[in-house]
């Protein structure tokens, strides 16, 4: 398949650009990130393979699990690229870096590229330069010199630095060495925070690793007897929400973010993630938030999955046993205020006064004033 001109089609509802491309497609000038129209104009025989984000995610999760099995605390922002601190692992893999690299290679198999360096960026660059069977290792002392001849395009490894790399190239600054020689205030003045980060990376410094948190998979899948779209899919989603909320692993907690995915009848998958403004375990609210996402589906589905990505605090969904009357509550509140004032003074009870509730500036909306009629 890779001998033919093939490119990964864009995901439904996302930007219409192609993903990874085969070598044959590359020979026609098709590159990842190119608009579909331009890619087809350059290579009319180009075949667009439907993306399978669900499959990629499952496969990549397995890879990360294997790395964690050798003791690594792994950080990974995107499939295909992972980082971990090797120092803490030397002791259990022969006492040296080569032992850690060999352990990683054993669990990941052939064809992977491994690089090691004193920072995330230098190890990424080392892995890009490494041969499949031999890891590239950058020493602690010479990292700046090692990075110096590399092109500034390496900065695109950090998505937020894409614009900086483009501008540097246009300004004639072609290598990381040329960038690291620039005065920091000038770079900060021209590019702001991204410029400071680019400079740090070029000089061998980087932000600390943020390893992934252990996953707590709670998911419910429903196979649909016939291709479903529209209202039928909405009913299926309601059922899934009820099932997820009934799972014992939830232990009364609310849901903070969830992922909805479907497998299309014609092949390929689609996945979207939703983070709630306020964590909730209310089935109606979850349906209100998730149902509009189904409108983005371009084709009928034959299975639908709902997965909890993060839990929130425990849901306070228990109703009050006996409702108190307003007058009773007011008397109790006044008594509480009186007692608190006796103990700690008049400032113990204040009232929030709305001054300009519609102001765009939050500090102008309300004032804290002394409580007067308690």
């Amino acid at each position: 398949m890779l001998a033919e001109p093939v490119a990964l089609a864009p995901e439904a509802g996302r930007e219409q650009v192609v993903g990874e491309v085969s070598a044959a497609a590359e020979a026609f000038g098709v590159t990842p990130g190119m608009r579909v129209g331009e890619a087809l104009a350059r290579c009319p025989e180009l075949r667009l393979a439907p993306p399978d984000p669900e499959g990629v995610r499952a496969l990549w999760r397995e890879v990360l699990d294997r790395l964690e099995a050798v003791g690594a605390a792994v950080e990974s922002d995107r499939p295909g690229c992972a980082f971990f601190e090797a120092d803490g692992l030397r002791g259990i893999h022969g006492g040296h870096l080569e032992g850690v690299i060999a352990a990683a290679r054993r669990v990941l198999g052939r064809g992977i590229r491994l690089g090691a360096g004193p920072s995330r960026f230098s190890s990424y660059a080392a892995a890009r330069r490494a041969r499949p069977r031999r890891a590239e290792i950058v020493g602690q002392g010479g990292v700046r010199a090692w990075l110096a001849p590399l092109p500034v395009s390496f900065l695109r490894a950090r998505p937020e630095l894409g614009v900086v790399a483009d501008t540097l190239e246009r300004l004639g600054i072609r290598t990381l060495g040329e960038l690291s020689g620039l005065p920091a205030p000038a770079v900060a003045e021209r590019f702001g925070h991204p410029g400071r980060l680019a400079l740090d990376l070029a000089r061998g410094r980087d932000t600390p690793l943020e390893p992934r948190r252990p996953a707590e998979p709670v998911l419910e899948r429903l196979e649909l007897p016939e291709a479903a779209l529209g209202q039928q899919l909405e009913r299926a989603l309601e059922l899934l929400i009820a099932r997820v909320l009934a799972r014992p692993e939830r232990r009364g907690r609310s849901l903070r973010s969830a992922a909805l995915s479907v497998r299309f009848v014609a092949g390929g998958t689609w996945r979207t993630r939703v983070t709630l403004r306020q964590a909730s375990a209310d089935a109606g609210l979850l349906a209100t938030v998730l149902t509009p996402k189904l409108a983005e589906l371009p084709a009928p589905a034959d299975s639908i999955t709902l997965e909890v990505e993060a839990f929130g605090p425990p849901a306070h969904d228990q109703a009050r046993l006996v409702e108190e009357r307003d007058s009773t509550r007011r008397v109790r509140l006044s008594e509480a205020v009186r007692q608190a004032r006796q103990a700690v003074g008049d400032d113990a009870a204040m009232r929030v006064l709305e001054v300009d509730p519609d102001s765009r500036l939050p500090e102008r909306r309300a004032l804290l004033a002394p409580w007067t009629d308690a």
Binding site: E160, R213, R256, S257, D346, E363, R364, L368
Partner: protein, 83 residues
């Protein structure tokens, strides 16, 4: 003890924010930002000698807390505010 006079609520306080892509916050108080729910700009008091120019972000942090932070475009510093 004399009673305290009325005072403002929701005054901004300095925040430790690590900016990420396109100037949006990537971490607030060492907690990673899970997602940015909303983003807006407030420009006010431009007719005075102390104009306000703020770029606000409403974020959900990795521990589930909602945080409203803004980058003060005049003072070039990050603040957190209850909004």
């Amino acid at each position: 003890m004399p009673s305290r006079a009325a005072s403002g609520l929701g005054a901004p306080r300095l925040a430790r924010v690590r900016p990420g892509a396109r100037g949006a916050p990537a971490a607030v108080d060492a907690l990673a930002v899970d997602c940015v729910l909303e983003e807006w700009v407030v420009e006010d008091l431009w007719w005075t000698g102390r104009p306000l120019r703020r770029r606000y972000f409403e974020c959900v942090l990795e521990n589930g807390r909602n945080a409203v932070v803004f980058f003060d475009l005049v003072r070039r510093r990050w603040f957190e505010q209850r909004a």
